[in-house]
């Protein structure tokens, strides 16, 4: 289990209890977090679950695979802490994770 805080682009915070094994995207969708569209349901096929990962967690969320890298390359407003949330799997280690959603996924 991990508590995940989703911060939207105007600063509103929403805290979700996420289960180990599901992804940061899935926890968001199941809890109707606005700002994460996830149009492909987590297949790394659409790049609509873009988030900014809190710096303190950058070394805990795992490495980007090549597919994710190239998908992100086409997202809007990419930063060095940009990730696709469907590619981050929840574990105890991520308890307290904060991610911020961009203004738009398209």
């Amino acid at each position: 289990m991990a508590k995940i805080t989703y911060v939207d682009h105007d600063g509103t915070e929403r805290v979700v209890e996420a289960k180990n094994g599901e992804t940061v995207m899935e926890a968001a969708v199941k809890n109707s977090i606005p700002g994460i569209d996830a149009d492909c349901g987590g297949a790394c096929a659409c790049a609509t679950c873009h988030v900014y990962v809190d710096q303190a967690f950058m070394d805990k969320v795992g490495e980007q695979q090549e597919m994710e890298k190239s998908m992100l390359d086409f997202a809007e407003n990419v930063q060095e802490n940009s990730r696709l949330s469907c590619q981050i799997t929840i574990s105890d280690e991520l308890d307290g994770l904060r991610v911020t959603t961009p203004e738009s996924q398209h």
Binding site: K30, D39, A45, S70, M71
Partner: protein, 414 residues
């Protein structure tokens, strides 16, 4: 028709489109009643993993569900599951259900999806002959996916080929029978067909194109073999039929709503009855980037039309319409498709099939209309943008891997 004072909305069908419509209605601020009527017993779930990771057992069942049960309660969505709707009574604005009860609506979203085309041959009803459409199908198939067994797959479309990949990865011996001269004949070009056929062969799948299936043979009611017209007998412990799907348009049709290979809708997903919308596999919609109407069998389409219907009911601006897009996972190959390639007059290749990383661009009169991108996300994403712009792109530029797709898209937008 202004439906923004609707108090009772009924969603018919709990697939991707229906689930999206519900989500978009609530996110859009609608506070009235929502009733979902679905004939399956489970909460709305996503189908793509059924022929991929879920079939392989690599994807927990609860991850298939869009929302947990509590979400529907918290959001005041009434779920009527395991219950086929039997009639749309437009005069009284009610839906009749199999058990005799009915539900009233001010606005209705038909998201009844599609059903697998059944095999019109002797032996199709034998035990261990399966379709692959719903969770209950996978529950039947999965226990039979045992190393060393023989699976015969009828139809080399995406479902058939994805299942063949899973079967090989699980150690089954897999045969794919295809009537057409090549795999994926209905959906892609010969160059892609050739690539996928070679890949499946390399992975040990026995692919038989131009195959004429005569019948399925069984013993004690269970399938044992697939018999071809030339007499060839292929041993089968289980058979998977993947020969296309048909839209579930009967309820709409019987209610006098205009249908023509799908329930006809306008850009807002509205049918010929202004209170009734149709979304997903069951609908035939205008394709704004192609100047024609068609059914689309895809997640993107289901989501988009679910959003379009919800926005139209709530009187909100029409959400953006993407060009159609699709994906298919087979082995370590991620195929991403943007656009519709029908009617192309030129194919341009970028990258190399040998390296399992390439794209086939489809042009018509110099305009990019579609791409099949294998392990090539930039080609897919840039093409989506280019297709929506209606961009003309020089074939030599597209094939030049020293020019990035990002630059190509940027140049076209300039």
């Amino acid at each position: 028709m202004d439906l923004s004072d609707a108090k009772k909305i009924v969603i018919l069908g709990g697939g991707q489109a229906g689930a999206q419509a519900i989500q978009s209605l609530r996110m859009g601020g609608y506070e009235g009643a929502i009733t979902l009527i679905g004939d399956e017993p489970s909460l709305p779930y996503q189908r793509p993993p059924l022929s991929k990771a879920y079939m392989k057992g690599e994807f927990a069942e609860e991850r298939l569900f869009f929302k947990p049960a509590a979400w529907y309660e918290d959001n005041n969505v009434e779920l009527i599951l395991s219950t086929p709707a039997t009639r749309i009574d437009r005069k009284n604005q009610t839906i009749e259900m199999a058990h005799g009860a009915h539900v009233e609506y001010d606005a209705l979203v038909i998201a009844t999806g599609s059903r697998p085309r059944s095999l019109p041959l002797e032996g199709a009803n034998l035990e261990n002959v399966h379709d692959l459409r719903g969770l209950s199908d996978v529950e039947r198939i999965q226990p039979q996916m045992i190393e060393g067994r023989n699976i015969v797959i009828i139809g080399a479309g995406y479902i058939g080929l994805e299942a063949a990949a899973v079967a090989r990865q699980m150690g089954l011996s897999a045969t794919v029978l295809e009537m057409a001269p090549r795999v994926l004949a209905r959906v892609t070009s010969p160059v892609m067909s050739e690539f996928y056929e070679a890949e499946h062969r390399r992975q040990g799948v026995d692919i038989r194109t131009n195959a004429r299936l005569a019948r399925l043979e069984g013993k004690d009611g269970k399938v044992t073999a697939a018999i071809l017209e030339d007499g060839t007998s292929l041993p089968a412990d289980l058979v998977l039929v993947g020969i296309g799907i048909l839209p579930n348009e009967e309820l709409a049709n019987e209610a006098g709503i205009a249908c023509n290979n799908g329930i006809l809708v306008d850009r807002d997903a509205r049918t010929s009855d202004p209170r009734i919308f149709a979304a997903g596999d069951c609908a035939s919609r205008p394709l704004v980037h192609y100047g024609r109407s068609s059914r689309l069998e895809s997640v993107h389409n289901a989501i988009e039309q679910g959003k379009l219907a919800a926005a139209a009911i709530l009187g909100k601006p029409r959400p953006p319409e993407d060009c159609p897009w699709f994906w298919s996972d087979q082995y370590d190959l991620k195929l991403q498709i943007a656009g519709l390639s029908q009617g192309y007059d030129q194919i341009v290749l970028r990258g190399s099939p040998e390296e399992r990383k390439f794209a086939a661009f489809y042009l018509k009169n110099g305009t990019l209309i579609a791409v099949d991108a294998v392990n090539s996300a930039p080609e897919f994403l840039a093409s989506k943008k280019l297709i929506m712009m209606g961009a003309k792109v020089e074939p030599d530029t597209l094939s030049d891997t020293t020019v990035s797709m990002k630059d190509i898209a940027a140049a076209a937008a300039a």
